[in-house]
């Protein structure tokens, strides 16, 4: 492959590298234009804010997934992990019983601690067990999911304290300066993620690890620590997403977070992160998550396709995104 790369002129190559970074943004613009043509209600501030707000959970989780995937890993357990974290957080709040800010803070702390621990477990098993991350997280996906079903005894875990619900509600439904809080949360998470991935040694090490593990090891990169930390970051992102998710419904069920892993990975791939590692694009991921929600929104606003087929369309999108990635790659 190096041969062919060598022979193409540098201008051409630079153009196609840019294509990879730009394509999610182009897709976003195309979708917005398409949406505006299909339904005049689409291009209203309230609809667009609503779409972005709804994409917040996936976007936050997908920022974590960007780290894992850029580092050459994969985490399928994020949906189940979110459900388990939400369930445990609500149970903790119910058991504490209070309706004050302190109780809420403790519950939030418990959620973050649990999700970070879940991520750490994934990371440690992958690094020290030397097992394919696909298998490890497939296993923990089943474990987390069935734990939440067991905790809920097959039913629903609901926040019981009414005061607490009222106290917590604004985190999903309120706005600051007209911007819904979930959007602010996800922009902050993305900004911190981008800062870590692009500007710190750790971020550089993640990319090196994903590019070529041996080179990283021979260059003195602490690969065990870096790899485990990517999964911990993924866990923390799941925790933050849960913090924004719980006030929306105030409950967790066995179907909470179902197929979120598909959406998170799709968002990452649409965003231009290489599934085999070595290239990570946090802002692309954010756009990818918004694109997924936009597609669902356009489907609801139009009458072309039943909205029950949203999952099918999102599944098709990840396949198309991979095809586009490869053709862009080949074009170099």
């Amino acid at each position: 492959m190096t041969e062919t790369v060598l022979r193409t002129s540098p201008e051409k190559r630079r153009f196609s590298v840019d294509m990879r970074a730009l394509s999610p943004f182009i897709a976003l613009i195309v979708l917005i234009i398409a949406g505006a043509l299909i339904n005049p209600d689409f291009l209203t501030a309230s609809n667009l804010l609503n779409v972005v707000t709804r994409s917040a959970f996936i976007a936050i989780i997908a920022v974590g997934a960007t780290f894992v995937i850029a580092g050459g890993g994969l985490d399928l357990s994020v949906g189940s992990m979110a459900a388990l974290t939400a369930g445990v957080m609500i149970l903790t709040l119910n058991n504490l019983g209070g309706g004050d800010l302190g109780t809420l803070a403790l519950g939030m702390l418990a959620a973050i601690a649990l999700s970070a621990a879940c991520g750490m477990a994934n990371g440690l098993i992958v690094t020290f067990g030397r097992i394919e991350p696909f298998i490890v997280t497939l296993g923990t996906m089943g474990i987390f999911r069935s734990l939440v079903i067991w905790l809920a005894a097959g039913g629903t875990i609901t926040m019981r304290n009414f005061e607490l619900r009222e106290l917590y509600r604004p985190v999903y439904f309120d706005s600051i300066f007209g911007i819904p809080i979930p959007i602010i949360a996800f922009m902050v998470v993305a900004a911190i993620g981008a800062l870590i991935l692009y500007r710190t040694s750790f971020g550089r090490h993640v990319v090196a690890l994903g590019s070529n593990e041996d080179v990283a090891r021979y260059s003195g990169v602490p690969i065990w620590r870096v790899r485990t930390l990517t999964y911990v970051i993924q866990g923390i992102c799941v925790g933050i997403a849960v913090l924004v998710y719980v006030p929306r419904l105030g409950s967790a069920t066995p179907t909470t977070g179902l197929l979120w892993e598909l959406q998170a990975i799709t968002a990452v791939v649409i965003g231009g992160t290489a599934l085999k590692g070595g290239i990570g694009r946090v802002w692309g991921t954010v756009v990818g998550a918004v694109i997924l929600e936009l597609v669902a929104n356009i489907m609801v606003l139009s009458n072309f396709v039943s909205e029950f087929l949203v999952g099918a369309v999102q599944g098709a999108i990840i396949i198309i995104a991979m095809l586009v990635q490869r053709s862009v790659h080949r074009g170099r």
Partner: protein, 506 residues
């Protein structure tokens, strides 16, 4: 004698870049025709055009006097032109016989006829002078045997022209010698052999005529009679190459910086002991697979190992490369593409990767400082690159090696271990790398050079430790440095035979 295959004014362009221009070449039956040139001179492209893998942009091919165009390698094979690839292209889980007949199985009543294939495989291998078991899985063969299987596979079809692309790159001197026997046998059968290599001593030993390419142009075609390797090198590079090696720096001291006692790396090395002194260049010689790479990977913590490593009178044990680097020891892998550089990342990211801590500003990376370091490295190491934005994988082998050197030198090491410093590096760059290694020693650093090229060890090193079968076989002092001495220790073969091998090959 009339040529069997003739190339006339062959040119080849990839996009706007012309990699071959106006090459003419004649292959006569019963001759070994070597094509030599630096990396990037166009040898492999020419070979791929002759064997039908690539169509020429301009010019024509003539087979037995008639013009011909090949639609692809299969078509060329049908006309009796076969290519033995440089890399091993075999299915490791299939047996020797299955590999030989892969895609052209002998069938009987619609089923594969294993018995017939086994018989023919055995016959062909015997003809090549080897007793490889046709039922053995290829993955369990040595590299040399795999190459034999590959040659056998190529010779299975009726052939008039056989092309070898750098066939000895992975072979030991003895294995190479038996390959030359095969080539001579082919020649005596009237086959035209095209032989591509950059090992000039080999070319001298095996070729009848030599064609030299430089920068995609035909420089000369000469009979081997009276053409010495030094002259070949001059033709390849275009300038006098008699001073390839720099003066050995007079800084070798008695001050021991590193002592290794009874080092063992499971499955590879046993009981290895040696000392390394300040300001010296210590060579490590031996055949491929003698355990040299593994020994040093063990010392710097890249492999599990046990033994006593004493650094400045202090016993140390490194658990990973990071610890070794912190103690001032760097190891540059022989596998530049697989273990040295991130081929898909740019020069800046590669340069700073090992010494990233030096580019910190708080917890963030100071990109400006990285850029400055890259400027400095490009200047200091003469890294030739069209643009600073290139990926490491787009550099030539020599420039990759320079980048790897620059990367590791950012760690300001006291002990530098370089594994195969000039593998895949063109001769002009070799000279620069040798000078750089000598300057490291002159600065008072201790340098270890692991190399399979005996000339390199002799030309560069103060002393050479030779390994054989995972053990240290002995040490050759500067005054005794000779190919015979090294080959003897490396092979354990008595000296007359060693001299024979050395004269015939290396």
């Amino acid at each position: 004698m009339d040529p069997v295959l003739r190339a006339e004014n062959i040119s080849k362009s990839f996009g706007p870049i012309e990699v071959l221009s106006g090459i003419s070449l004649e292959l006569r039956p019963g001759e070994v025709h070597a094509v030599i040139g630096e990396n990037g001179a166009g040898k492999s492209t020419l070979m791929r055009i002759l064997s039908g893998h690539l169509p020429p942009t301009k010019g024509s091919l003539h087979l037995n006097g008639r013009p011909i165009t090949f639609s692809g390698p299969v078509d060329a094979e049908a006309h009796g032109i076969v290519l033995v690839h440089q890399e091993i292209l075999l299915a490791p889980d299939l047996t020797v016989a299955q590999n030989l007949f892969l895609g052209r199985e002998i069938r009987r009543f619609g089923f594969v006829d294993d018995k017939a294939m086994r018989e023919r495989t055995r016959a062909i291998l015997r003809e090549l002078g080897t007793g490889i078991d046709p039922d053995r899985e290829v993955g369990r063969l040595s590299i040399a045997d795999r190459q034999l299987v590959q040659i056998a596979r190529a010779l299975l079809v009726p052939h008039k022209v056989v092309a070898f692309d750098e066939p000895t790159a992975v072979l030991t001197p003895i294995e190479a010698e038996s390959l030359f026997e095969i080539i001579r046998k082919l020649r005596s059968q009237g086959v035209a052999v095209l032989y591509i290599s950059h090992r000039l001593n080999e070319v001298k030993a095996v070729a009848d005529r030599v064609t030299v390419l430089r920068d995609g142009r035909h420089i000369a075609t000469r009979d081997i009679e009276g053409l010495e390797p030094l002259e070949m090198a001059r033709l390849m590079v275009g300038r006098d190459m008699s001073k390839l090696y720099p003066e050995k720096p007079a800084t070798a001291s008695d001050q021991v910086v590193l002592t290794v006692r009874d080092m063992a790396v499971p499955d590879y090395v046993e009981n290895a002991s040696f000392t390394l002194r300040r300001g010296e260049i210590l060579g490590f010689g031996g055949l491929i697979g003698a355990g040299r790479t593994e020994l040093f990977e063990g010392i710097v913590g890249l492999r599990p190992s046990h033994g006593t490593v004493t650094l400045d009178d202090r016993n140390v044990h490194f658990r990973d490369a990071r610890e070794a680097m912190a103690a001032g020891i760097v190891y540059l892998s022989e596998d530049r593409k697989g273990k040295g550089l991130l081929l898909q990342q740019n020069l800046r990211i590669n340069l700073s990767l090992a010494a990233l801590d030096k580019f910190g500003r708080g917890s963030f990376i100071d990109t400006g400082a990285e850029e400055k370091a890259l400027d400095q490295a490009i200047k200091d190491f003469d890294i030739r690159t069209r643009s600073r934005d290139l990926l490491a994988g787009q550099l030539s082998g020599g420039n990759q090696q320079k980048l790897l050197l620059a990367k590791m030198m950012l760690l300001e090491p006291r002990i530098v271990i370089i594994d195969e410093p000039t593998r895949g590096v063109d001769i002009g760059t070799k000279e620069q790398i040798y000078r750089f290694i000598a300057s490291l020693a002159a600065e008072g650093k201790a340098v270890v050079v692991i190399s399979s090229e005996m000339q390199e060890l002799i030309g560069l090193c103060h002393r050479v430790v030779v390994m054989r079968n995972g053990r240290v076989a002995g040490e050759v002092a500067q005054t005794d440095l000779s190919e015979d001495a090294i080959v003897y220790l490396a092979t354990g073969v008595h000296e007359e035979r060693a001299a024979e091998i050395a004269a015939g090959h290396a």
